[in-house]
Symmetry: C2
Subunit: 317 residues, 2 copies
């Protein structure tokens, strides 16, 4: 066989393997995908200008709206409402007391962040850690998202799962840094994202060690809440290193992105932009400052409509 | 060659390899070593009664007196005194104000725990995280232990290094849970123990995110201090799982041992007992309750004199 023909056959035979070797098949070709791939290639290139030692390859991802759907409201709010309904018979006063009444009547627009924190304390405190874990497990096993009628933990973004895997395959340590409840997210982080419980940083209640070697959840929130300037504080507390990659989607992630950007050229900051009402949702509210910062600093903006070939794992590939 | 002779030669040839395969060569044969090896073998035996899945193989080690020397006082107190001497010219009032005066005059017996915390705040707060890290690095590079005239981080127990390695080799995740300062221990945990920064749980100061994307250390301690009942609380906060192996040496570790013991038969609790004044130190003070609990519950007591064949890495093997 002439050499050229042989080479052609070889190329054709290898083509599917080469295509399969794309580590981010659910990302459409474009600037966002290209910058993510280049960044990972450059910080892992031994002897390269942007090389980063494995122990410093820390990546942090926000959760709500960054790794999974946060609309029509946060998954944890559905969990709070679910528990509130179940506890209501023991609390007849809730029917006429705010913010419980609004929550029970699903007047969600009436609930501000302080109201939500009050509802979190009312539904998440008083029990032991083991009891809380059982409640969270029950919720994830039985509750369904109102739009897709699927378990909430199915509503994760397939392109992000591929990115997490690509990072881990390149020596990154991937942490979730959620404004939501640390223990709530930990109850699914390992099976859903491959992120072990100790690599989830989040908001939490105080606990107390009691006889019987149990931890009981108290009605006080650990400061700072893991949002805005609380994120870098808690990253330093739990992770102890400045991340070289930070991925968020809202103003609550801005300080985390700024903290990561303090690394300079060996870092990357990414914002997920929700602009796809057909396949997911479209909203900029609560992300105005973050979007402005992305434009100002030349960070990566991921437009879901353009950049995500596929949104959910259950979508056709 | 007769088969028997061949077998004998084979045994003789393999003997060094078999001996080298002992994962804990610096431990003397005895009950402590045997129970540690059996525990690791049993929780990793697929299908065995005591099998524990890898994600639950969490081991926690206290640091001062458990992994490194804590006499004549904690290493971090030497760091505090070193910084105090350097800062004293800017604080002439310290010469006549307690507890600063006692510390500057090395009247260490006069300093209780509240005094030490005050001195920690005076010497560890006000600076950025990066500045603190540089100070800690300078200390470990230059300071010498008064007895051995070696860097403090050389005074680690060789048998424990082997145990950490044996655990990691069997799928354990090894965390340090120190009553001392988290950031202080983190500054050496990776090179000295192979424990990454995020796997160190400890006491700490509040920090604040400031412009310039820096974290500044404040003069307030994060509650709970990582001692006694604060240890299980902070383990749940940062690790998020109940450890199956806990190793300590004092009453400050008792609640951590109790918390681990809540796992039942698939767990092991270990207390290092300092009874070797020639090679290290001998003291029971501050460990009375823990020693009583070890006897009561049948936990493992490691008598350094009997159980450690070799104490420090620089000792002859």
């Amino acid at each position: 066989m002439p050499l050229k023909a042989f080479a052609l056959i070889l190329v054709l035979a290898l083509a599917p393997a080469l295509a399969a070797a794309d580590p981010l098949p659910s990302w459409r070709d474009g600037q966002a995908k290209q910058r993510l791939l280049s960044f990972v290639a450059e910080v892992t290139e031994q002897g390269g200008d942007r090389f980063v030692a494995p122990e410093d390859r820390i990546a942090v991802f926000d959760n709500d709206g960054t790794l999974w759907v946060e609309k029509p409201t946060y998954t944890q709010v559905f969990f709070v409402l679910d528990r509130l309904d179940r506890l209501a018979p023991q609390h007849p006063e809730w029917a006429t007391t705010q913010p419980y009444q609004a929550a029970l009547e699903r007047d969600l627009g009436a609930l501000g962040v302080p109201d939500l924190l009050k509802l979190v304390v009312a539904t998440h405190a008083g029990m032991t850690q083991a009891e809380f874990q059982a409640e969270a497990a029950r919720f994830f096993a039985t509750a369904r998202h109102p739009r897709w009628k699927r378990p909430y933990q199915d509503l994760i973004y397939q392109p992000q799962l591929e990115l997490l895997e690509h990072l881990r395959g390149n020596g990154f340590q991937v942490f979730i840094v959620t404004g939501g409840g640390r223990d709530f997210v930990r109850s699914v982080s390992e099976p859903v994202y491959g992120v072990p419980r100790h690599m989830v940083v989040g908001s939490s209640l105080q606990t107390e060690f009691e006889s019987g070697a149990r931890l009981r959840r108290l009605g006080e929130i650990v400061e700072p809440v893991n949002d805005k300037a609380g994120k870098p504080v808690n990253i330093a507390r739990q992770i102890g290193r400045r991340p070289i990659l930070a991925v968020g989607n809202s103003d609550g992630d801005l300080e985390m992105l700024q903290y990561s950007a303090g690394h300079g050229a060996r870092s990357l900051q990414v914002l997920i932009h929700h602009d796809d009402p057909e396949r997911e949702y479209a909203y900029d509210h609560g992300a105005e400052k973050a979007l402005a910062a992305v434009a100002e600093h030349g960070w990566v903006r991921v437009d879901m409509k353009r950049d995500f070939r596929r949104v959910f794992p259950f979508d056709a590939p």
